[in-house]
Subunit: 194 residues, 2 copies
């Protein structure tokens, strides 16, 4: 039941409609939780029913009306209680790594393509996260920020995201190097592959 807590945590940044929340999940929340718009709409309904959020309709000119959700006191308590629970170990599920595990019997070229794509994607995300970081810091340096800021949570999760993407960049670069050398070796002396 952590989707609900991810939603609650995302709403600490301020009230949002389903659509706006989905955007938030695509950008900053993506560091720690991902969900499709459909999941979010479903979860918002339930959270409202359970009294953890309150929704109100905002009428808009030239736009469809939207329902904007805010944390209730009960919602904040629920989130507090959640942070007091021990965290469960994270499950890794990575499509690309499955392909890599099978690369030797698989389509070598396609896997290298996929690793390249991941590398580009990670570069993009890192650039985005660096921008988000600049926005948070507002010109201060890290130490200053960490001393002064009201909230450090968003910074710490952003830090995790940045490290993760940097790691991905290093790893996929190394993998491309290795697969490239192997491909070259196989073309000249394919002895060990029948």
């Amino acid at each position: 039941m952590a989707l609900r807590h991810a939603v609650l945590a995302a709403l600490l940044e301020g009230e949002a409609s389903g659509y706006q929340l989905a955007k938030r999940f695509d950008v900053s929340v993506a560091n720690f939780w991902s969900a499709t718009p459909q999941q979010l709409y479903r979860e918002l309904e339930q959270l409202e029913r359970d009294g953890l959020l309150s929704g109100r309709v905002v009428e808009q000119r030239r736009r469809p009306n939207k329902r904007v959700f805010t944390l209730t006191a009960a919602g904040r308590e629920e989130l507090h209680a959640f942070t007091a629970q021990p965290a469960r170990p994270t499950a890794i599920r990575d499509d690309l790594l499955v392909k890599l595990q099978a690369v030797d019997t698989g389509d070598q070229g396609a896997v290298r393509e996929a690793v390249s794509a991941r590398l580009e994607q990670s570069r993009g995300k890192l650039a985005l996260y660096d921008r988000l970081r600049d926005d948070l810091l507002e010109g201060r340096d890290e130490d200053e920020y960490l001393r002064e800021a009201e909230r450090v949570g968003p910074y710490l999760t952003l830090m995790a995201g940045r490290m993760y993407e940097r790691e991905n960049i290093r790893w996929s670069t190394a993998v491309l190097e290795i697969l490239g050398q192997r491909a070259a070796a196989t073309r000249t002396a394919p002895a060990h592959r029948p």
Copy 2:
């Protein structure tokens, strides 16, 4: 539908029963995919029905009989086809990071505990992965191994796992440092927290 491909990839290491496969998923496969025994039993059934695996009963003295599954030619083809598909971007879902995002309104001490626990867990995993690496290398150095080995897939995924855990160690150490300083500052001058 990547669980099935994770299972197929895991069986590249050799035939296994449901129970043995679950063990494998706890150790080496944990780097790239996780699944509960129940999922595995269910998936093995389906994979056999679809002709991607063949199972046979191995009778044992002093032990319940077991059903051991092997990749069929169709299974290998399926896996090959899977590697040729572009990989979908990975969804991060990390309980601990949700707690961290909410740390400022949450239970500070409990979150620090949880980060410590993650740190210890990552140290444990890294030690395990280092042992697995030694087993793979069999005394050779990395370059030698990468030139000679028939399969590099398992090494590359293991490399990803090791980097991931090292990263986790660095990150959680930094987080503990920051939260510790904040806690100290709040005790002496809690000005900015009402």
